[in-house]
């Protein structure tokens, strides 16, 4: 909500802007002086917020007759120049920003939180990075991760390829956590023959807080980039709710499994690839692709018109059919071993015949689909469904986007979907 018309006019008349030091007289007994703060979305339209000398914010109702006067205009303080640390013998690591604030500064005067965008800002906020590597920072784009689209994945993939081809020891991609799993999967398929690791890193507690996990995750990512013999797309986040270790997950296997915990990211159907002791130790836990001197093979094409549908009891077959037919391919998160209702099997059969590939995964997430066990499964196979094996539904969807754009016919798409390309599926799962 913004200001009411009256309060807006009052502020304009007084020439008051955010950051100005103002005096407010509400009535004979109430008078305040403080810095005018931005209007809070949930504040009442007649309320202005002042930051008092004590540091506290207070909301004041500007009733009829309330007066406001600017005592002094905001002083824009120059930010001190932070000299970049130039010592070229250290390993170079690219940091490609996508939005979100992996590191930030708080302006306690106004309460504003500013992201650290440049390499200089980043090093100044996280000086430990400079001890590990030479940082090459760049902001590719700045959006909330829920607004990420295929086009962003493509731009990011191209930037990463550039950085690695110019000799970076690894690339760190600070990313909002909501869709970090999708981006990790997309980059995994788009970037072939990686010579070095690409590490997506996020924070579940924002970087303006002393308790933020952003810094430990970022430092661990830099350490992984400079020391681990690994060359895939990974996600690095806290392994537990303690600040003791971080887990490195394969980009095609990782999923956000909690809305708020630091250890929200979990590998599904396999263990993490590595464990990073936050004091510096790197422990490789399972085999992965090694570093090489190859050039990146960039294959960014994607078919955007792919949907991911979760089946539920009683799902309308007509709505389901309409949704599938509005797309070029579909991934279904079925129940159990990979099932949908009898009615939907018929819809799928028709849709597949019309040339729309349908991939079956499980909403159980854990375990592999198996369409041989029950009648419904066998019917789905006959209908032409592609089993998604033990792929995560989201990974299967991203993979189908990529497979549709990187194959010339339905058989080709089906082959790609059935082949393990980036560790996204496997034949065995540990007991």
């Amino acid at each position: 909500m913004s200001y009411s018309q009256r309060v807006g006019a009052l502020l304009r008349q007084a020439g008051a802007e955010e950051g100005d030091y103002v005096k407010v007289v509400l009535d004979r007994s109430r008078e305040y002086a403080g810095v005018l703060m931005p209007h809070h979305e949930f504040s009442d339209p007649d309320i202005i917020v002042l930051k008092l000398k004590s540091g506290y914010n207070i909301g004041l109702r500007m009733n009829e007759g309330a007066r406001l006067e600017v005592l002094s205009k905001a002083v824009r303080k120059e930010r001190p120049h932070r000299p970049a640390n130039k010592s070229d013998e250290r390993r170079r690591v690219g940091v490609l920003g996508t939005g979100g604030t992996i590191a930030s500064y708080v302006d306690y005067r106004t309460g504003a939180v500013h992201p650290a965008l440049s390499a200089e800002d980043l090093i100044s906020a996280v000086p430990e990075m400079a001890e590990l590597c030479q940082v090459e920072a760049k902001v590719v784009f700045s959006i909330f991760s829920e607004n990420m689209m295929v086009e962003h994945w493509q731009r990011l993939a191209a930037e990463i390829a550039d950085r690695l081809d110019s000799g970076d020891e690894g690339v760190i991609v600070p990313h909002g956590t909501d869709t970090m799993g999708y981006t990790a999967a997309a980059l995994s398929f788009m970037l072939d023959d990686l010579p070095a690791p690409v590490v997506l890193v996020g924070a579940q507690r924002s970087s303006d807080r002393p308790s933020s996990d952003a810094y430990t995750n970022l430092i661990s990512a830099a350490r992984f980039c400079t020391s681990a013999d690994a060359a895939e797309v990974f996600v690095l986040m806290h392994e537990s709710i303690s600040d003791t270790t971080a887990a490195v997950h394969r980009g095609t296997r990782v999923r956000k499994m909690h809305t708020s915990r630091r250890d929200a990211f979990q590998s599904v159907n396999e263990g993490p690839v590595a464990r990073m002791d936050l004091d510096g130790k790197v422990e490789m836990l399972s085999p992965c692709r090694k570093r090489s001197s190859s050039k990146v093979k960039l294959r960014p094409a994607m078919e955007e018109r792919v949907c991911l549908v979760q089946f539920y009891p009683g799902m309308s077959s007509s709505a389901f059919g309409a949704l599938l037919r509005a797309h070029k391919g579909a991934v279904i998160a079925g129940t159990g071993l990979g099932h949908v209702s009898h009615e939907l099997v018929h819809v799928i059969k028709d849709v597949v015949k019309e040339g729309i590939p349908v991939v079956m995964t499980s909403q159980c997430l854990n375990g592999r689909v198996n369409l041989n066990v029950y009648d419904t499964g066998r019917d789905l196979l006959s209908a032409g469904v592609i089993p998604g094996e033990d792929m995560l539904p989201e990974t299967a969807m991203v993979k189908l986007m990529w497979a549709l754009a990187n194959s010339s016919d339905p058989e080709g798409t089906k082959d790609l979907m059935a082949t393990n390309l980036r560790g996204e599926m496997s034949d065995r799962r540990e007991a």
């Binding site: 000398k53 004590s54 207070i58």
Partner: protein, 623 residues
């Protein structure tokens, strides 16, 4: 206006008896530990790269934190794994009620802030706090004490232990709503400080929704004297100790001003730190501290000359004690046990010869001041640096700082005063609009004021006015009312709470263990006749040792005596003295009360004993 010898303001922090401020956990303190979570905190950078003074002091110590998260009293919110929920409505209502009682001006909209605190006591690294009202007044015997602010905030985690680089906190206390009331710097004597604190305490209790018992109310004192500086003594828990802390701080600041005068008179300028290794000349030293340090791997005795500081580190009369201040800084900075300084040497096993050897090694004249530290060299060096920094500060008089209260009424250095601006908005908590309807409802249902309660006690229960005032002041009003109304024992309750408890405390009983529930159980037992009222002091004394009322009565041999048992005892006594009774007749009652009470004290009261005695005697005379 005449200058006051003392300027003091207080901040009072009172826990509320509601749910937690930002989640639905209960607000009890528990014994079980729950699961462990390990964390670190890092000071956040402000826009201009300024890190807060106090935050830096904490970061210097590079602490790691371990949190114990017991179930039911802590959840994902306390471990900072889930955003805070909406602020508890009851807690806000109680705060608004207090604001109304103090005639303070209430915010139209309450905004929670994040106040940076990185000593680990908050898992987030900040305390959530909101300004609810400003500019109120407390009237005390005609004098108006200004109320600067009334805030609602979350309590910090409980510190359990500090070992090496790790501090352990328990999360049961984190998030308990606290009302913080800050007065103006309007108090000018130690006793006045106590009176104001007592009055604020009774107003808070008048809401009937605050926690009771030790640790549920804590006071911070802001003290300065003319020419001195603002010093904050943080977290005093015992009201009766307030005047002592204030007086001692006044004395400390006066001492520091005297020291400044002496040092300036000596024309001193700040010293440079010049650390000298004294280990080679102390191999034969008899001091256990010195020998212990030299036996350690990397251990050493390091010294710094302090020319000009003779006699101010500890004066002969003990009034000047800069040495203690220097030692506290050294302990805080480097984690050493302490330092020795030349005003206290020879001593502690360090001989005159040792002192001469040390001054020789440092190349300073005999009689020149110095300080030494015996520990691992990597700790002793920063310890001495901190000590010299503190010594140099004495040239400017009293440094502003935060101090911890010690149980003996003194205080010790804890950290610099926090800078002013280290707050930014808590964006996870919605602002709370205080509507006119809400304020009107609060004003319509204001609780009974302490003086109204006092009047009621006098009128309804017939106790003396002075007793009533003291009951309310000491915080016994709820207990008293319950005992008086349920058991009809107003006089006993008043006497017990106001006289017996202080008496048994003087005799060494720990009456802090006698909380309202314990006292209530004693009154109930008394009412049910488990013992006679003469035995109550002994019972309470025993309960203060940690026993239940049942165990206390058992231990004292106060098994409940039915009238038939008592009758048998009395009858036996009468029979033993049959000749005497027959001779004296009913006049034997008086003389026999002695032996009877000797056997029955605490088991039946005097009135009943006398009746039984009369009955038995007349039975014998008739029979």
């Amino acid at each position: 206006m005449a200058e006051h010898e003392l300027i003091c303001g207080i901040e009072i922090h009172q826990q509320l008896d509601t749910k937690k401020l930002f989640c639905s956990c209960s607000t009890d303190l528990v014994d079980d530990a729950g699961r462990d979570v390990h964390r670190r905190l890092r000071p956040t950078q402000s826009e201009l790269g300024e890190v807060d003074r106090a935050a830096l002091a904490q970061a210097e110590r590079k602490m790691r934190f371990r949190y114990l998260a017991p179930s039911k009293v802590s959840c994902l919110v306390e471990v900072d794994e889930e955003p805070p929920h909406d602020a508890d409505d009851d807690a806000i209502d109680i705060t608004l009620t207090l604001a109304a009682l103090l005639e303070a001006k209430v915010a139209d909209e309450v905004h929670f802030m994040r106040k940076i605190v990185i000593d680990g006591s908050n898992t987030t690294g900040f305390q959530r706090t909101a300004l609810v009202a400003t500019d109120g007044v407390l009237t005390l015997e005609g004098k108006r004490i200004g109320i600067q602010s009334i805030c609602l905030e979350e309590d910090a985690a409980r510190k359990m232990e500090s070992k090496g680089q790790e501090i352990t906190y328990k999360l049961d206390r984190l998030g308990i709503p606290l009302i913080e009331v800050a007065t103006g710097p309007d108090m000018h004597s130690p006793e006045e400080v106590k009176e104001v604190a007592a009055r604020l305490g009774s107003l808070l209790r008048a809401t009937k929704k605050v926690k009771r018992g030790l640790g549920t109310i804590r006071e911070d004192l802001n003290i300065s004297i003319p020419g001195g500086a603002r010093v904050e003594i943080k977290g005093v828990q015992e009201l009766r100790m307030l005047p002592e802390y204030v007086q001692r701080e006044v004395d400390r600041q006066k001492g520091l001003l005297t020291i400044r005068g002496m040092l300036q008179g000596r024309g001193l300028v700040p010293l440079k730190v010049k650390v000298v290794d004294l280990s080679p000349v102390l191999r034969g030293c008899k001091s256990k501290v010195v020998a212990g340090a030299l036996a350690k791997d990397g251990g050493a005795v390091l010294g710094v000359p302090l020319p000009g500081f003779e006699g101010v580190m500890r004066s002969a009369d003990g009034k000047l004690r800069l040495g203690a201040e220097m030692a506290q800084r050294a302990k805080m900075r480097a984690g050493v046990m302490g330092i020795f300084h030349s005003d206290e040497l020879p001593g502690y096993g360090i001989s005159e010869e040792d002192v001469q050897a040390m001054t020789g090694q440092m190349g300073i004249g005999n009689g020149t001041a110095f300080a030494i530290c015996a520990d691992e060299a990597r700790k002793a060096r920063p310890a001495l640096e901190a000590a010299v920094e503190r010594a140099n500060l004495a040239l400017d008089g009293v440094p502003e700082e935060t101090r911890d209260p010690q149980p003996d009424g003194s205080s010790s250095y804890s950290r610099p005063l926090p800078g002013a601006s280290r707050m930014y908005p808590e964006t996870d908590v919605k602002p709370i609009i205080v509507t006119e309807e809400r304020m009107q409802a609060i004003k319509l249902h204001l609780p009974q004021l302490p003086e109204q309660t006092e009047r009621k006690f006098v009128m309804r229960y017939g106790i003396h006015e002075q007793q009533a005032r003291q009951i309310v002041r000491e915080g016994y009003e709820d207990l008293f009312e319950e005992v008086a109304s349920t058991y009809g024992m107003a006089a006993v309750a008043a006497r017990t709470l106001l006289n017996t408890l202080p008496e048994i405390q003087k005799e060494g009983a720990d009456i802090s263990r006698l909380d309202d529930a314990a006292l209530m159980s004693a009154f109930r037992a008394l009412h049910e006749g488990a013992f006679a009222k003469e035995a109550l002091p002994a019972v309470l004394k025993s309960m203060a040792g940690g026993r239940s009322v049942e165990d206390a009565t058992k231990e004292l041999g106060l098994v409940r005596m039915g009238s038939s048992e008592a009758e048998a005892v009395v009858a036996a006594i009468v029979r033993e003295r049959e000749a005497f009774v027959r001779e004296k007749g009913m006049a034997a009652v008086g003389p026999l009360m002695g032996p009877v009470m000797e056997r029955l004290r605490g088991k039946v009261d005097g009135k009943m004993a006398s009746e039984l005695l009369k009955k038995e005697i007349s039975k014998m005379l008739q029979g």
